[in-house]
C-alpha cells in the first residue's frame, strides 16, 4: 500500500491509496457540500443536484452519461449526506482514466430546464417512497428538533413543497458557489496509476475557476425533548433518539464508536440482549454519527405499539446504568475484536476502502492506513470509553416516536 497526494493549482486535492494487488480501481469525487450548506429556500438542493449531475453536461446529452458509465462496465452511483456529496465508480484498472474524466465532467452539469423538471418528479417519488417506509421521516424530524438552529438540522431530501418550489436558477447558483475546486477531493483506491490520475485530473478539473466559500459551523445546545408523531397507517411503532457525541475532529470519536458497539451493536450488545434477543423489539441499536464540529449518538428502536413505553423505559434504564457503572474490560475487548474484523473486511474491496480514505480526508485531511486505524482502536482504554458516558450522557436526548400510538409516557 502506498499513499499519494497532490493539490492542483486551483486547490482541488487528489489523494490515492495504491494497492497493486487489487483487481479493480475505485474512484470518487467527494464534494464538501450537503444539506447543512443549504438555506430553507433551497432545502433539498444538494441531493437534487446530485441527481442532475447524471442528466447531461456541455459535452454529453442526458442519455449519454449513463450509457458511457455502462460502457466502461462501471459500478457507479452517488450519495448526498448532511455535509458531503459523493460521486463514485468502481472500474477495471484499464478504465481508470475515462472513468475519472466522466466523473469530472458530470460535476459540471448543464442543468437544462427540461431535464430539471423531469428529474423533479423522480425526487418527489423518492421522498414519497421514504414517507411510505419506516421510520416515515421521523429520523429527519428528530434531527431537526435535536439540532434546532444549527445547520445540521437541515433535511437531505427536502420536502415535496421545497422541491416543487425550487427553480433551476437557484440550483445553478448553488452549484457555482459550492462545487468550486477547493471544495472537491478526488479519491482513488485499489489498483491506481497515480501519475495518469493526476494527468486526467489536471485536464478535466484544472480549468475550474477557484471560488471561495466557507461553511457555517455554529453551535448547538442539545436539550431534553420527547416528541410523539402520529402515523395511523403504520403497524409498528418506531423511535429515534439523538444525544450529543464527539465530532469528526475529536479523538474521542474512536471511544464513542466502541461504546456504541458495546451498548447498541446489532448483535451481542447490551441493547441486543435486553430488547432484541428477548423478542421485546424487532430492532434496537445505537450508533455514532460524526460531523464537522458536532456529533451525535443515535438510538433507533422498532417494536409493536403496545410495548413502546416499556421498551423506551428499558433503554433509558440501560443507559442510566451504563452512565453510573460504566462498561467493563471484557465488553471492550469484544467490541475491539468486532470492529477490527469489520475494518479489515470492509477494506478488502477497493470500493469499501474508498469511503474510508475519502471520509478521513474530507473530514480531517488525514490519511490513515488500515493498520494505523487498528493501532489507534487497540490503544483506546476503558477509561476513555467510560469518559464518553460522562461527557455525552445518553440519557440527555431528543426522542421522537412515530406510529399508531400517541398516548406515550416519556421514560423516567
Amino acid at each position: 500500500m502506498e499513499f499519494c497526494s497532490h493539490t492542483l493549482r486551483n486547490g482541488l486535492e487528489v489523494v490515492a491509496e495504491v494497492n497493486r494487488e487489487a483487481y479493480s480501481t475505485a474512484l470518487g469525487f467527494f464534494v464538501r457540500t450537503g444539506a447543512r450548506d443549504e438555506t430553507d429556500e433551497v432545502s433539498g438542493v444538494s441531493h437534487f443536484l446530485e441527481h442532475m449531475a447524471f442528466k447531461g453536461t456541455a459535452r454529453r446529452e442526458a442519455d449519454e452519461v449513463n450509457r458511457e458509465f455502462d460502457e466502461l462496465g462501471a459500478h457507479y452511483n452517488a450519495c448526498t449526506t448532511e455535509e458531503n456529496t459523493i460521486f463514485y465508480a468502481a472500474v477495471l484498472p484499464e478504465y481508470q482514466d475515462p472513468a475519472v474524466a466522466l466523473l469530472a465532467d458530470i460535476l459540471r452539469p448543464s442543468l437544462r430546464e427540461e431535464d430539471f423538471d423531469t428529474e423533479k418528479q423522480v425526487i418527489i417519488e423518492e421522498i414519497r417512497m421514504y414517507e411510505d417506509m419506516p421510520p416515515f421521516g421521523a429520523d429527519e424530524k428528530c434531527r431537526a428538533a435535536f439540532f434546532g438552529a444549527h445547520p445540521l438540522s437541515h433535511s437531505v431530501l427536502g420536502t415535496v413543497e421545497s422541491i416543487t418550489r425550487l427553480g433551476v436558477e437557484a440550483m445553478r447558483d448553488y452549484q457555482r458557489r459550492l462545487y468550486g475546486p477547493a471544495h472537491v477531493v478526488l479519491v482513488a483506491t485499489g489498483r491506481v496509476d497515480f501519475d495518469a490520475l493526476l494527468d486526467v485530473a489536471r485536464q478535466s478539473c484544472g480549468p475550474w475557476p477557484s471560488v471561495a466559500a466557507e461553511r457555517a459551523t455554529g453551535r448547538f445546545e442539545p436539550i431534553d425533548r420527547f416528541l410523539v408523531l402520529e402515523k395511523p397507517t403504520a403497524t409498528q411503532q418506531y423511535a429515534v433518539a439523538l444525544a450529543a457525541g464527539p465530532s469528526a475532529e475529536s479523538h474521542d470519536r474512536y471511544a464513542a464508536k466502541l461504546l456504541a458497539t458495546i451498548l447498541g451493536d446489532d448483535l451481542g450488545s447490551r441493547l441486543y440482549w435486553e430488547l432484541v434477543d428477548s423478542g421485546r423489539a424487532e430492532h434496537a441499536s445505537l450508533s455514532h454519527c460524526e460531523y464537522q464540529g458536532a456529533g451525535a449518538m443515535m438510538t433507533y428502536l422498532s417494536c409493536s405499539p403496545e410495548t413502546i413505553e416499556d421498551n423506551l423505559q428499558r433503554i433509558r434504564d440501560l443507559y442510566r446504568q451504563a452512565e453510573q457503572e460504566g462498561v467493563d474490560e471484557d465488553e471492550l475487548r469484544q467490541a475491539k475484536n468486532k470492529v477490527r474484523s469489520r475494518v479489515v473486511l470492509a477494506a478488502e474491496r477497493p470500493r469499501g476502502r474508498l469511503f474510508m480514505v475519502g471520509g478521513d480526508w474530507i473530514a480531517r485531511r488525514e490519511y490513515l492506513s488500515v493498520s494505523g486505524e487498528l493501532d489507534i482502536l487497540e490503544a483506546i482504554s476503558l477509561d476513555e470509553v467510560n469518559a464518553i458516558l460522562n461527557t455525552y450522557p445518553l440519557t440527555r436526548n431528543t426522542t421522537m416516536t412515530i406510529g399508531p400510538k400517541t398516548d406515550i409516557r416519556e421514560p423516567k
Partner: protein, 414 residues
C-alpha cells in the same frame, strides 16, 4: 481469472466446495441446509424460520450468550436466513478464524439446545417480523408476487403466518429439526484464504459423522398467470410483474440473463431509461432473474405515486413486450462490459463467492468457474439472445399491485 474449484463429497453425502482466493485476508463460508420453508406443512408456515432462530440459541457446551460472544470474539460477521429450499448460515472472518467459526456452526447444526425457555422469545421475534413487513410496502409486494408466481409450497414466504407462529410448540421444532437438519443435501461453500487439505480435515472432523438422512424436495405444481390488487394505505403504488424464464441450469440461461440485462442491467438499460430517466415516473425500477432448480422467472418491481401508477404499469409492460422484438448490438456490448467487470470484482469478495459456489452446487451439482462464465458471456451474441426471445417472449404475466387503488390491466396481459 482463477478457475480452481475444489470439492469433496463425504460418505454421509455432505458436500464441501471451495475456491481459494489467495489475495484476500478473509475466508467466508455458506452452509445451505435442506431445511427451507418448502418443508413447512401447510398449517405450519414459518416453522423453518422459527428453527433457524432457535438453533442459534445455544449449542453443545455453549449457551445462547456464549455462542454470540465467541463468534464476536472471532470477528465473524454473520447472517442466517431461510429460502424456499434452504436454511442458510453464512459468515466471514479473518482467515485464521475460519476453523474456529466452522466448529461453532457444526455445533449449531448438529447439537443445538432448542431450549423450551426461549420458545416464547423467538415467537415474539417472529411475530415482530410479520408486523414489520406490513410497514415495508416493497417487501410486502415481493412476498405477494412470489406467492402467486410459484405455487405452494414453493412460493411461500419464510415468515409464515400469524396463526401458525402463535401455535408453534417445541415438539414441532424438534420434529422438523430431526427430519431436516442432516448431511444429505447440505452444501458447505468456502471461499477466500485457506489450506484445502487442512480445511477438508477440519470439516471431516466436525461433520464427517453427521447423520446422513435422506434429501427429498416437494413437487413444483404447474402455475397459472393471474393479476391481483392488494389494498394498502400508502402514497405510492407498488407494481410487481413476473413472467416465465428458464432456470439457472438451462443451457439458455445466459441468453435469458442477457435479455433481462438489456431491460435492467445498469442505468442506461431500457426500464430505467424509459420509466425513470425519460418520464420521471419513479425512483426505483428493476428486473431480475430468479431461479428455482427446475423453474425460473423474471421479477420486475416499480414503486410510484398512486396517480402515476397506471402510466408506469403501461410503460413497463410495453417495454417487456418490446423486448420480444430483440435486442441491439450496442445494448449487448454495454451489458458485456458490466458483466466482465462484475465477474472480476467478485474475486474481491470471499462472502459473495462462498455463497455463489454453494448455490451453483445446489442448482448444477458443480460450480461454473468465473473463467467458464466469462467464456460463456463471450459467446453471447445478439443472434443468440434474439433466438431465445423469439422462443420465450415475455408473456403470461403475473401482476400484483399494492396501494390505495387497483389499476387497469391493459388488454392481453394474461
Amino acid at each position: 481469472m482463477s478457475a480452481n474449484i475444489l470439492s469433496h463429497t463425504f460418505p454421509n453425502r455432505l458436500v464441501l466446495v471451495a475456491e481459494p482466493m489467495g489475495s484476500l485476508q478473509s475466508a467466508a463460508f455458506t452452509f445451505l441446509v435442506p431445511a427451507g420453508c418448502v418443508h413447512d406443512a401447510a398449517d405450519r408456515g414459518g416453522l423453518a424460520e422459527f428453527i433457524c432462530e432457535m438453533v442459534m440459541r445455544g449449542a453443545a457446551e455453549r449457551n445462547n450468550r456464549q455462542l454470540v460472544l465467541d463468534l464476536d470474539n472471532l470477528g465473524v460477521q454473520r447472517s442466517q436466513s431461510v429460502s424456499d429450499a434452504h436454511a442458510c448460515f453464512g459468515g466471514v472472518s479473518l482467515a485464521e478464524n475460519l476453523s474456529g467459526a466452522l466448529a461453532i456452526y457444526a455445533d449449531v447444526l448438529r447439537r443445538p439446545h432448542l431450549p423450551q425457555a426461549h420458545l416464547e422469545m423467538v415467537r415474539q421475534i417472529m411475530l415482530q417480523e410479520l408486523q414489520a413487513v406490513e410497514d415495508e410496502p416493497a417487501q410486502k409486494l415481493g412476498i405477494e408476487l412470489r406467492r402467486r408466481y410459484y405455487p405452494a409450497p414453493w412460493g411461500r414466504p419464510p415468515q409464515g403466518d400469524r396463526q401458525a407462529v402463535e401455535s408453534m410448540t417445541i415438539e414441532h421444532i424438534r420434529d422438523f429439526f430431526n427430519a431436516r437438519y442432516h448431511a444429505d443435501g447440505t452444501i458447505l461453500g468456502v471461499a477466500g484464504r485457506f489450506d484445502w487439505q487442512q480445511l477438508k480435515r477440519t470439516v471431516e472432523r466436525l461433520l464427517g459423522d453427521w447423520t446422513a438422512g435422506q434429501e427429498a424436495e416437494p413437487e413444483l405444481p404447474a402455475a397459472r398467470p393471474m393479476t391481483t390488487h392488494v389494498s394498502y394505505a400508502s402514497q405510492q403504488t407498488q407494481i410487481g410483474i413476473a413472467y416465465p424464464s428458464v432456470p439457472y441450469r438451462d443451457d439458455d440461461y445466459f441468453e435469458a440473463w442477457g435479455a433481462v440485462g438489456v431491460l435492467s442491467g445498469g442505468m442506461s438499460a431500457r426500464l430505467p431509461t424509459e420509466v425513470r430517466e425519460r418520464r420521471g415516473l419513479c425512483y426505483s425500477i428493476h428486473a431480475t432473474c430468479h431461479s428455482l432448480r427446475r423453474r425460473g422467472g423474471v421479477f420486475c418491481h416499480a414503486g410510484t405515486t398512486a396517480d402515476r401508477a397506471q402510466e408506469t404499469l403501461d410503460v413497463t409492460l410495453a417495454e417487456l413486450r418490446r423486448l420480444a422484438r430483440g435486442v441491439e448490438q450496442h445494448e449487448l456490448d454495454r451489458l458485456k462490459a458490466r458483466i466482465k467487470s462484475a465477474l472480476i470484482m467478485q474475486q474481491e469478495s470471499s462472502a459473495a463467492r462462498s455463497s455463489t459456489i454453494a448455490r451453483d452446487w445446489y442448482h448444477l451439482g458443480r460450480v461454473r468457474t468465473l473463467d467458464e462464465v466469462g467464456r460463456r458471456i463471450d459467446r453471447l451474441s445478439r443472434d443468440s439472445i434474439n433466438a431465445y426471445l423469439a422462443e420465450h417472449p415475455p408473456r403470461d404475466f403475473t401482476v400484483v399491485t399494492l396501494g390505495p387503488e387497483p389499476l387497469e390491466m391493459p388488454d392481453g396481459v394474461l
